[in-house]
Symmetry: C2
Subunit: 452 residues, 2 copies
């Protein structure tokens, strides 16, 4: 067979009712690629597909479909069909898709789940959004410290069929309190009658169900592990989170941060899938706030109309001063926001940040001062040297102010338990703009007062 | 024992030469946490530690240390000590740290490696930076299609000791061409004499050694796998990349994107570890470029001095128009840049982006137009209504222009094989600023010409 099946080929197979060829295709080709095609089939064709394919295959395809298609399929399903699907899904995948379904559909699904499934699903649904509990899976391998290697391998074979990962197994005591972890490889390489208690690691890195998913990602990054156990407030093991699940979390969280830094209220879907109305809503709020704040900058300029009229060169330099200040502030805030997100920078680093930004801004300010002074001297020969000096000095002070403001505000946000990413460029630009203009006009009046 | 060992406790143990207590501590506590302490010990104390601890433990600690400490340690090591360390490191970790070492240290290390190690290291070092080849590990489990399950388990026990992961094993033919993959769990759950060829998956997702690491991350995200095999241009299997390695790559790549979007030349280290000089260099280049570009905006304003002098309200609105345009453009570019990075948006989506941005900008522009008109009408009673109209109309057109520019430029960057992230806010702001002012003054002259 070829390496890829095209959408038209699949559609033709379904239209021709070539059941065996379809089954072979779904065994042979990559399911993620095939799901892209399934997504574009008619609902009736999908339902037909789901009837003829193995249940574990349809369950996997189902998890990759868009939530609209998932809803269409589930509402067309009979009770037993839903039950069959649920049986073949990991609980974290069930929860992921339930979170996107309307309430009546959720109810319909839950009535068809087994009592045990329902309990697990309800447990997972009860955790706060973005908590470790909400992204963990409850399907893992659990051993006892007193188990022998032989018994453990039996248990792994039993529990492993439904577990999301078997590379790490977790050891619990009689109260289900997590006491150790052990790599599958260490079990495989040990003698049959060695005890798990002698083999397991006791320095367990774990997260609580209520911990933020960002914290979970940070731990996986720091300790370089591929699975993290999740415990409740009594230290009992109730789930695990795998590195590949965390990749989605990191991607999602970073997208949110980047959107906030661009003054966009985070959208839940990708650019192409987000509707025009939702996109407009996510952008308009901050634009309105910033537009009104920019009015203050306008008022400041208006207050110095007379001075501007007497020295036109002053007006011409305003955009350059404002945009340089904005850019410099944006550089600092971006670097500190990323440092907070990735390198655990905290309020305690306030002094370090202040000191570093001060030195960096002195360097940058000095270079810009010199370059700008010569630029004006050469290209604006009609300016007086004193005017050039005032503009360059303002630029110098604006850069220092911008770097300090940009570096500090994200840390201040932490003090007030706000998201540092919201303290990004647009807000800082607005603040720096206003301060820069005040400095500018005061310097102008002090040094150029005789010309006004 | 307690859950954590403090730095002072560890230092005291080392000072008191309590070797057994130190060995126990390193068996009991988490190595990542202990490494933070080791980093702060004196070099002599570290060398002492490394003498008394097991080689596999010192090797693991070594990988977590900063490159400065690594260099200090390696240059103090004797040849046999280096050889012992290399034996206990995964090749990808060796390469990671070699990349940070000066040439003479690299040479010193390579002379102490075995011939086989040297060949592997040289192979990995030869791949372009940021390629899949440069981040893969060559330690993996390799099976033959004709192997039975029993034989495979033997092979896994043999090769698995040094393999970075055993959750996935890879099947190669006689020419070492990758023909299939199989999960360890599927081997464990099968009968002893089943053949690997009957169990293995043949729809392999893999990357080439020269593929970009970002592409690798995208595949791991798309196919939801925890390991990806790496093949050379003859389809021969030569390495694997695990999901937890990819987390570091994603973090690094995103940080780079975010820095570029803030007009910072990416730094290789974290905020706190980057020196003042390096930080200054990474920021100054774009500030200079943008400062000079902002001069054009100043020149445009200067060209309309007369008009500004006759209607002062026009000057007061400039900062608001420029900053709103900048913010709107930044929102669009950020969302499209992220879409390109995460959701595979490409040049073919040009039309979709244009159409979406046009509709969003019409909505946003209209709201801002209305709000701004009433704001001016109420708070700036001295303006004529026609002036308010010109300002609001400019705002409307600027938003459309900003959204279209911001949405399109990142896609245009792709055409010229440039990084879309470099097309972010500061550059777009500068372009939009200039265009907005030209629109502004032309509208002003058309509608308010009689007042000038």
């Amino acid at each position: 067979m070829e390496n890829k099946l095209t959408f038209l080929e699949l559609e033709q197979l379904v239209k021709d009712r070539r059941y065996q060829a379809i089954r072979d295709a779904f065994d042979y080709y990559n399911l993620v690629d095939l799901t892209n095609h399934v997504e574009n089939l008619d609902l009736n064709e999908i339902l037909l597909l789901f009837k003829i394919l193995r249940k574990d295959i349809t369950a996997e395809i189902f998890t990759y479909l868009s939530s609209e298609k998932q809803e269409d399929i589930i509402t067309s399903f009979t009770g037993p069909q839903i039950a069959g699907m649920l049986e073949n899904l990991y609980t974290d995948d069930i929860v992921d898709f339930l979170e996107e379904m309307p309430a009546n559909v959720v109810k319909h699904i839950l009535t068809n789940a087994t009592a045990e499934q329902r309990a697990e699903i309800n447990l997972l649904l009860s955790y706060p959004e973005d908590s470790a509990g909400s992204i963990m899976t409850t399907d893992f391998v659990e051993l006892k410290a007193s188990d022998t290697v032989k018994k453990s391998i039996q248990k792994i074979k039993q529990q492993g069929k439904v577990a999301e990962t078997i590379s790490y197994c977790y050891v619990v005591d009689i109260n289900r309190v997590l006491v150790g972890s052990i790599k599958l490889r260490d079990i495989l390489f040990a003698d049959e009658d060695e005890l798990i208690s002698d083999l397991m690691d006791t320095d367990i890195v774990c997260v609580a169900t209520t911990d933020d998913q960002e914290h979970t990602a940070a731990l996986i990054r720091k300790y370089d592990v591929s699975v993290l156990p999740v415990v409740n407030n009594e230290s009992r093991l109730i789930g695990v989170i795998t590195a590949d699940d965390i990749i989605d979390v990191i991607t999602e969280e970073t997208t949110e941060d980047i959107q906030k830094m661009a003054a966009v209220i985070p959208t839940s879907d990708s650019y192409l899938r987000t509707g025009v109305l939702e996109m407009t809503k996510s952008r308009i709020a901050w634009l309105l706030v910033l537009m009104v704040s920019a009015t203050f900058t306008g008022l400041i300029i208006q207050g110095y109309e007379v001075q501007l009229a007497s020295i036109p060169a002053l007006a011409a330099a305003i955009p350059m001063i404002m945009s340089t200040g904005g850019n410099a502030g944006c550089q600092s805030s971006t670097m500190v926001i990323r440092g907070i997100a990735i390198d655990h920078m905290r309020i305690k680093d306030f002094g370090l940040v202040l000191w570093k930004e001060l030195r960096v801004s002195l360097g940058i300010g000095l270079v810009l001062f010199v370059v700008n002074f010569f630029r004006l001297w050469i290209f604006m020969p009609s300016d007086t040297l004193m005017t050039d000096l005032v503009i360059s000095l303002t630029l110098f002070l604006t850069v220092i102010l911008a770097n300090l403001t940009g570096g500090i505000l994200p840390l201040v946000a932490l003090v007030f338990k706000q998201d540092p990413a919201a303290m990004a460029s647009p807000l800082i630009t607005t603040i720096v703009d206003a301060l820069a203009l005040i400095i500018y006009f005061n310097l102008a009046m002090a040094f150029l007062g005789n010309l006004m």
